[in-house]
Symmetry: C2
Subunit: 320 residues, 2 copies
DNA sequence: CTGAAAGCGCTTACAG
DNA sequence: CTGAAAGCGCTTACAG
């Protein structure tokens, strides 16, 4: 900028005015400055500009893993909204590790991001308190965080309820639920939806048909259930990775409804009936909420729940 | 920092020393400063720090689309390497649009990223020249860019050659190739590999068995081929999306080798034989090359080609 | 319409 | 071991 000013024979401030399209510059002067800018290939240093103003026009995104399609959909949606608001996105994968989540968030805060979209890996977010005081905005997505802040979730209970009810309508009475570790919010919620669905249909819950735990154990758990005297005739899986584990399983496959849609679900035979979530909606809504806060919205903390959608494809319509 | 200095009764510079773990500070003074830092909840502003030094410890990543598993794998690998080097990643999706690619790259440059990993959407990168002069490093990944710079590619020719040769070994003589638009580098390269494979086996190329074009047209193109008097008995697809298009196709399915691996390829029946690329390796290698440049490496421009791997699963071993 | 000064939050280079 | 001054590249607040 100094060089441009010198080349155009004006003061720094005048260059700044031209660069920022500020009114009240003599057209001739402006043209001279513009020429110098082009000749020297000058491009304003956004970091310096931002240091002076308050904002960095950058937000941070912490997800579990970019390489997981569910999260990469979220990622793309957040990116889109951010770009539309003139912001860039720093992103990082927590790998479901609360410490890594915390480290990423604090690193982003050190770069003075304006706001954060966080898919919480941990449940304690006290470490965020000083940052929130300092003015960063934060929105939790997919799972609630450990403090009062805007949050966008899927309707996990409703989705699981819909899934199990669908199987009941197709004549099933013994329906297994294979879920992830119940310490994970979404896993616990989906289990609740499953149980409520059974209860609403007047069916008694049978805990021997429920297996919550690491994804790797899901296949074996189902195999065990299938060798009992009263095996399940249908399964509701608690997330996409568990659905895949079941699909990889050998042997007889009961009727199946999977929580979370996935590519090629329609190509398998039978095609897989799923309760689809809306990851793009999750990311978009979270980012929009964030930018609303950044532009000054000061209403009460919001908690939005996005609906799920049952997609019948065959595996969930098999008779007992 | 000023507040901390005042609170600890020292000069700014001393706080800076403590924050940076510089040697030669009286332990008692350091402790006093440390206490003030904690009491005030001080965190250094990395942007300001960076303004003074030369680097931003940030790199830019431009891919086609984060929501595509191939690119999200690249993304994760780049992220990992960057974090290991103390850098953060700004990323954006070009949507295969050269203008958007350019805009993203220049936006990143305005933020003064230290370097860029680019999956080129366009073939003209002259717009990068002034930035390179200004000191940003750039590495092209997956496809070569329009100027001399470090580049990491997959062995597209070799991979397609391996795929078609595999089908030939299993008795096929009429093998179709369904590829993407040949203006896309990888598509053209794979077509070359296919042709070379046929030639090496002494088979004559039959252009009626080749269809290059938009992914949406691939299914119809294959259907047409299958209704001719001498239909192909096998297909090599040019990328993952085309493989899926073929899998979605109704009717008789010839033997199939797909370029690029995908989730659930092993669950389909028959399971799908693929030529697997190494997207994580692509991202890792590109990022490592970038950081090598950033730490001063000044050797000649590198061009690295990553090997592919044939994974036989069933669909590619079907007899004619 | 234009500019000189001060400052954003930090570090570098120097002096004591 | 500690600090006062200058500067990174820009903008804000003011004066002319």
């Amino acid at each position: 900028m100094k060089d441009v000013a010198a080349a155009a024979g004006v003061a720094l401030k005048t260059v700044s005015r031209v660069v920022n399209d500020e009114a009240g510059v003599n057209p001739a002067t402006a043209a001279r400055v513009q020429a110098a800018i082009e000749r020297l290939g000058y491009r304003r240093n956004e970091s310096a500009r931002v240091l002076r103003g308050g904002r960095t026009a950058t937000i941070g995104l912490v997800i579990e893993d970019v390489a997981d399609p569910f999260y990469s959909e979220i990622s793309r949606a957040v990116e889109d909204v951010a770009l539309r608001h003139g912001s860039l996105v720093l992103s990082g994968s927590s790998r479901e590790d609360p410490l890594r989540e915390r480290e990423l968030v604090l690193t982003f805060c050190d770069r003075r991001v304006d706001g954060l979209v966080i898919v919480p890996a941990g449940s304690d977010h006290d470490y965020l308190l000083p940052e929130l005081d300092a003015g960063v905005a934060a929105v939790f997505a997919d799972r609630p965080g450990g403090l009062e802040a805007d949050t966008v979730l899927c309707d996990n209970v409703g989705g699981a309820h819909t899934g199990v009810t669908h199987l009941i309508r197709h004549g099933h009475r013994r329906i297994a639920f294979l879920g992830d570790d119940p310490s994970i919010f979404t896993a616990a919620e989906r289990l609740r939806g499953y149980r409520r669905g059974l209860a609403d249909a007047g069916l008694s819950a049978d805990d021997s048909l429920v297996a919550m735990g690491p994804v790797e154990a899901a296949g074996a758990a189902l195999d065990r259930m299938l060798t009992t005297p009263e095996p399940p005739t249908a399964v509701l899986t608690g997330n996409g990775r568990i659905t895949v584990a079941v699909l990889r399983g050998t042997g007889h496959r009961p009727a199946l409804v999977g929580f979370d849609d996935f590519e090629l679900a329609d190509v398998l035979s039978p095609a897989v009936t799923v309760v689809a979530q809306d990851p793009a909606g999750l990311g978009r809504t979270a980012a929009e909420l964030l930018f609303r806060r950044l532009s000054g919205a000061s209403g009460p903390v919001e908690r939005i729940e996005l609906p799920t959608r049952l997609i019948p494809r065959g595996s969930g319509e098999l008779p007992p």
